[in-house]
């Protein structure tokens, strides 16, 4: 894939087709006295071709919401569709396979496997999708090149800086060309400049016409890279701001 030709610059109108559509999503953790209602009926739509940032105070349910969207957590009520697929209704094996093909992840703490080199870490989603090792490593190397880390491909995560590790994680999240990438606080363990560069990079390589990118963040300095921002409070999406219109 060549990101430069198909990249959607900030301000470009999203295609209008939904990548994610959530209606009345409720998620309750635990039971009895330990019961926590994390989502109280979330309505949210993420369009294809857009970068949506999810913001809100701590405990407002951001992580819970993207976990439901990504199919690693089942909601208790409501409907959540990803590219028109209802993940909750899928048998768990099929759901796992769908997740492996369709969704990419970037985590706050990178979650790289410490005993694998950068290029091997990037190759993991391909291996999980049944690629041959040699092809997967080759392809992973190309993607590392795109995040400008080609020369560090044989390094272990511990030998890389935080920004470099997050770039490896970004390469891993998009190596298998998933249509939806979810990121939870991808910049919060990075310093300001590094964080900005990482988001720029993510925007550059991941936002495409038929794809979508959801980033959970507290970091106001990166808001400017988003197309729309959804603000959550106490388990609900309370406001959606379209930055392309306000710009």
């Amino acid at each position: 894939m060549d990101s430069r030709t198909s990249q959607t610059a900030p301000g470009t109108a999203p295609s209008g087709k939904a990548a994610v559509r959530c209606r009345g999503v409720v998620k309750i953790y635990g039971g009895g006295s330990g019961r926590v209602v994390a989502l109280r009926g979330v309505d949210l739509q993420v369009e294809q071709g857009e970068l949506l940032m999810l913001v809100g105070p701590s405990g407002s349910g951001k992580t819970t919401l993207i976990s439901v969207i990504a199919g690693i957590l089942d909601q208790d009520e409501g409907d959540c569709r990803v590219f028109d697929q209802d993940l909750r209704k899928m048998p768990s094996r099929e759901k796992t396979r769908y997740r492996g093909k369709t969704i990419g992840f970037v985590f706050q703490s990178f979650n790289l496997i410490p005993t694998l080199t950068a290029v091997e870490n990037v190759a993991v989603p391909l291996l999980l999708n049944g690629w041959k090792r040699s092809r997967a490593i080759q392809r992973a190397g190309e993607v590392l090149d795109r995040v400008r880390l080609a020369d560090r491909s044989r390094s272990l995560p511990a030998e890389l800086s935080g920004g470099e590790q997050q770039r490896v994680a970004i390469a891993r999240s998009l190596v298998h060309e998933p249509r939806l990438i979810v990121c939870d606080e991808p910049t919060s363990s990075l310093d300001q400049d590094t964080g900005q560069r990482v988001i720029e990079l993510l925007r550059e390589v991941a936002v495409r016409e038929d794809r979508a990118l959801i980033i959970v963040t507290h970091d106001s300095r990166i808001f400017k890279f988003s197309d729309r921002m959804a603000r959550m409070n106490d388990g609900r999406v309370v406001e959606v701001i379209d930055l392309r219109k306000t710009a």
């Binding site: 094996r93 796992t96 992840f105 985590f107 694998l116 993991v124 999980l128």
Partner: protein, 386 residues
């Protein structure tokens, strides 16, 4: 994903070596303890092992084990020879006789009297001299350990090492002169007395006067004859008990197991070795999975299905298990080898390797199953937790 699984396993050198060491120790403990137990049990029938030529042992029906002597009438020998299918049958005397040493001390010896014509039942290995030397007048052959220790002479100056009994030396067995014509090596048994071989007729002259002196009749089945069936025919024809060599070994061992408390005493040590080994090995592997739980969670979130995770964990468990088992068995064998000339009883037949291998396998698989359970139960949503 197999290569990823292996890299996860060996990538962290310290943990990997720790795990291998844990499993090696477990395997060593299991192998070592059961090898010693097996060796100890094999000692109970050492005398039967040494007598490898005859297939069949005939004895008084009340005999319970090899050292339990209930003499037979000499005429029984001819009756056994007359049973259809018996190729040959020879007498064996086995008894405890007092030897008087040069310094006047007495030492009880285990005396075997072998058939005069064939000398069947002799020691498995001669160190000095030949078995046929027993045909000379007053001849006896003594075992090496006995000759060096209990039958040895004190040094003339009272200091220094004892002087071993040697060929040409004379000792008195039950007041009868006996000349040493050879030194032999025998399998260790639970009896600590020196072993002395002589001919049947001479043994009966050494032995205190009794009406019956024939301890066992050793027989061989004709070629093509099933020894077990022949045993049945012999006991029906003579009213005596007849066992194949293996049956008699089992009978002897069972007696020791039942009446000596060895299994309960030593068995506990073996079981303990098993439990400790299992705990160490299981714990080590389980810890490894726990340490990697987050990574398994990441894989799960990224689309690793249950069978993939299962395969990865099993592969890791089998690999460390195999290496740990191999090293443990190796170390156990090395210890057994280095102490081969000591009193350590150590026997490592392939069955034992199979048992310790299965034990380590079961340990690793159970640890893997618990780990797998933990991984499969894992909410992939933990990957977003820091």
């Amino acid at each position: 994903m197999n290569s990823i699984a292996l890299k996860m396993l060996v990538g962290d050198r310290a943990k990997y070596l720790g795990m291998i060491m844990g499993l090696t120790f477990a395997s060593l403990l299991i192998t070592q303890q059961s090898a010693i137990f097996t060796g100890l049990m094999a000692r109970t029938f050492g005398a039967i092992t040494d007598l490898s030529y005859p297939d069949i042992w005939v004895m008084d029906p009340k005999v319970q084990f090899i050292d339990d002597i209930k003499p037979l009438q000499d005429t029984q020998l001819y009756r056994v020879r007359g049973v259809d299918g018996v190729d040959w049958a020879v007498p064996l005397y086995k008894g405890l006789l007092k030897a008087r040493l040069e310094n006047g001390n007495f030492q009880t010896c285990i005396v075997f009297g072998l058939d005069d014509a064939t000398l069947i039942g002799g020691p498995p290995e001669m160190v000095v001299g030949r078995l046929s030397d027993l045909r000379r007048a007053e001849a006896v052959i003594v075992d090496e350990v006995g000759s060096r220790d209990k039958l040895a002479r004190a040094p003339s100056d009272g200091l220094g090492p004892k002087i071993p009994l040697a060929v040409g030396d004379v000792l008195e067995l039950n007041d009868h002169r006996a000349t040493v014509v050879g030194i032999c090596r025998v399998t260790r048994t639970f009896q600590s007395q020196p072993v002395v071989y002589t001919t049947y007729s001479r043994a009966t002259t050494f032995a205190p006067r009794e009406r019956k002196l024939l301890s066992f009749i050793l027989a061989k089945a004709k070629p093509g004859e099933d020894p077990e069936r022949l045993c049945g025919r012999i006991s029906r024809a003579t009213g005596l008990a007849a066992y194949t060599r293996d049956q008699f070994k089992v009978k002897t061992m069972s007696y020791f197991l039942k009446y000596t408390g060895i299994p309960i005493n030593f068995g506990i040590a073996v079981v303990l070795g098993f439990i400790v080994g299992t705990a160490i090995a299981g714990q080590t592997f389980y810890n490894f999975t726990l340490d990697n739980l987050r990574h398994f969670g990441t894989l799960k979130a990224m689309g690793a299905a249950a069978p993939t995770l299962l395969r990865m964990i099993l592969l890791q468990a089998l690999l460390v298990g195999a290496i740990g088992w191999g090293l443990g068995v190796g170390v156990a064998s090395l210890i057994g080898y280095l102490l081969r000339n000591s009193e350590l009883s150590f026997k490592l037949p392939w069955q034992l390797l199979a048992i310790s291998g299965s034990a380590v396998l079961i340990i690793c698989l159970s640890a893997a199953v618990i780990s797998i359970h933990k991984v499969l139960k894992l909410e992939p949503a933990i990957v977003f937790k820091t």
